[in-house]
């Protein structure tokens, strides 16, 4: 029973980490809290859904949806955040309000275009559940999520640590001015953040759609704020911290709601943990240190 709950928590937590990773990468470079990342999650889930029902090819749905949503992310930066941040004397709250506006806009646009109703996400995975011992069953959707999340994080780790682009990303996140001064292409580091950030959010959206076998235009509401809690717990802008914080929130949510009861709704647990931890340690659970 306990082991089953722990596995459950890890699955949920890895989806959280994947969703929050985009916001972390974008914060790392731009120093803005991008709630609209949760909009990318909805858009990605819908793009993936339509590709899957027309072609029946799940890997294609994942890849195309991630690519398209990532491209949207770059456009959002070029047309919106870039020009806003380029203005002098900008209040720190302005980009945050922009992203809230953008999130509202995308959620409702999806509702108008695709309809407000719930759509069933019946994905054929081609493999069955795995039985561990007597009582523990790992459903095929869980295997998909675990494996895919692990692969995506490995790719991210590889890009950040083994490529020039990743080095540029880290330099820009650490000291944007100096990075620019020594000739690092900070624009490509920024574009990388948006492509990977929005792309990961899209993948997370599809995974959640498959996990709960449904998508609605309101899919992004819970992740929009839970993501914030996770990126702060992870030390704002720290990719490794985000993975730890995502798993931590997923596990504590699952275990608290099962073993302590439902005095407090599950979705606010992340924030209670967050407020407590911030009061004790104002710089987040994982202190800021890249890679």
């Amino acid at each position: 029973m306990l082991l089953q709950q722990i596995i459950n928590g890890i699955i949920i937590g890895s989806v959280y980490a994947l969703t929050a990773m985009g916001a972390t990468l974008i914060y790392g470079i731009m120093r803005i809290l991008d709630i609209a990342n949760a909009g990318a999650y909805v858009v990605g889930a819908y793009i993936g859904y339509y590709i899957y029902i027309t072609t029946g090819n799940l890997p294609l749905a994942f890849i195309l949806s991630m690519g398209l949503t990532g491209t949207i992310g770059v456009l959002v930066h070029k047309c919106l955040y870039g020009p806003i941040l380029a203005k002098p004397h900008i209040l720190p709250i302005i980009p945050l309000i922009t992203s809230v506006g953008l999130f509202t806009l995308t959620g409702d646009l999806v509702r108008l275009i695709c309809g407000a109703g719930t759509k069933a996400y019946n994905a054929e995975l081609g493999f069955g559940a795995v039985h561990l011992g007597n009582n523990i069953v790992i459903a095929p959707e869980w295997i998909l999520i675990l494996v895919l999340t692990a692969v995506l994080f490995l790719i991210l780790w590889f890009i950040l640590n083994k490529t020039t682009l990743g080095l540029a990303w880290k330099a820009t996140a650490e000291e944007p001015e100096i990075a620019r001064a020594v000739g690092i292409n900070t624009n490509s580091a920024t574009a990388l953040s948006y492509i990977i950030g929005y792309g990961f959010a899209a993948a997370a959206g599809i995974m959640v759609g498959i996990l709960y076998n449904s998508i609605t235009p309101a899919l992004g509401e819970t992740p929009s704020y839970k993501m914030l809690a996770i990126i702060v717990l992870g030390g704002l802008g720290n990719p490794v911290g985000t993975v730890i914080a995502g798993l931590f929130v997923g596990l504590s949510e699952t275990l608290i709601s099962v073993y302590i009861g439902s005095f407090i709704p599950k979705d606010s647990i992340a924030f209670i943990v967050l407020v407590l931890i911030l009061l004790i340690k104002p710089s987040g659970l994982v202190s800021k240190k890249l890679s």
Binding site: I94, G107, P265, F271
Partner: protein, 296 residues
């Protein structure tokens, strides 16, 4: 007519909320994103009091006091948790408060809370009475804010908003003024909540959700942050929008989101903020008109 008064009361409530948030966000420059939580604390405090048989008129200052205490606590927190962390902490506080309202028996849990309509000299208060009360409070808040900006307190807030380190090095007690701004702003929000619950006679936790905080903040920013006229205009525009745009009900949230995005992209100082395109136009028409209050 009664429809117009109902809408006007609604706008007036949001105008007060926007003005009160403006003290914290506009003048003190603190990223407070959970203002609806304090609106809710005031509302639930007042509801609990009048349900215990205490007069509506006594519940108003009491709600103010309780909310101000909570706001002062947030002020103390803001000394330690800053900027983006503060924004997220306040969002978190908003969610936690709504969860408490929704789950604790004393707050009516998921059933919400109802109160008996208050009386004024023995007669039941009509929407018109509420509107007059709110308008008086709006005028008082504007006067208070104006007095504040002209005082030592206002100057200190301007200095800490522009450069906290520099303000400190000049011997300004930054912490004290920050906490004071939080107390003032949240107290007015609590008072508004107390009036709101008696106007509606019924409240749910969802009336104080994070989206409400965003609406309040949008009003401040769309109108012009750090000015008195800005939040008033913002509350008027965004408060009336759902009614005016009723014909386009299906596109309302798109328009709302779109307006926010476009405003932030092209006019982040707000419609009536310092150096907005409207003010620049007015300056050309009336060259002697004074510039905004934001430059401090």
């Amino acid at each position: 007519m009664s429809y117009i008064i109902t809408v006007a009361v609604n706008i007036a409530i949001f105008a007060l909320l926007a003005l009160s948030l403006n003290i914290i966000t506009g003048y003190a420059g603190q990223s407070a994103m959970g203002h609806a939580a304090f609106f809710g604390i005031g509302a639930y405090t007042a509801a609990l009091m009048t349900n215990a048989g205490i007069s509506f008129w006594l519940s108003l200052p009491a709600a103010m006091l309780v909310t101000a205490a909570a706001g002062g606590l947030l002020g103390v927190i803001s000394l330690r948790v800053r900027d983006d962390f503060l924004a997220i902490t306040t969002i978190g506080i908003n969610f936690v408060m709504v969860a408490l309202f929704q789950n604790m028996k004393i707050f009516g849990a998921s059933l919400g809370m109802s109160v008996t309509p208050p009386t004024f000299f023995g007669a039941k208060m009509t929407p018109m009475h509420f509107l007059v009360l709110l308008l008086i409070l709006i005028v008082l808040t504007c006067l208070l804010t104006r007095k504040m900006t002209k005082s030592w307190f206002g100057l200190a807030l301007a200095s800490l908003r522009n450069d906290e380190g520099a303000a400190m090095s000049f011997g300004i007690n930054v912490s004290q003024y920050k906490i004071l701004a939080f107390i003032l702003g949240t107290a007015i929000a609590g008072l508004t909540g107390a009036i709101y619950v008696h106007r509606m006679t019924f409240i749910f936790s969802s009336s104080f959700a994070f989206t409400v905080s965003i609406s309040i903040l949008s009003m401040v920013v769309v109108g012009g942050i750090g000015t008195i006229r800005g939040p008033l205009l913002g509350a008027l525009i965004l408060g009336a929008a759902p009614e005016v745009l009723r014909f386009a009900a299906d596109y309302r949230m798109i328009l709302y989101g779109g307006i926010l995005v476009l405003m932030m992209r092209f006019q982040p100082q707000g419609l009536l903020g310092c150096d907005s395109f409207i003010l620049r136009g007015l300056h050309k028409l009336f060259p002697k008109d004074k510039a905004g209050e934001m430059n401090g």
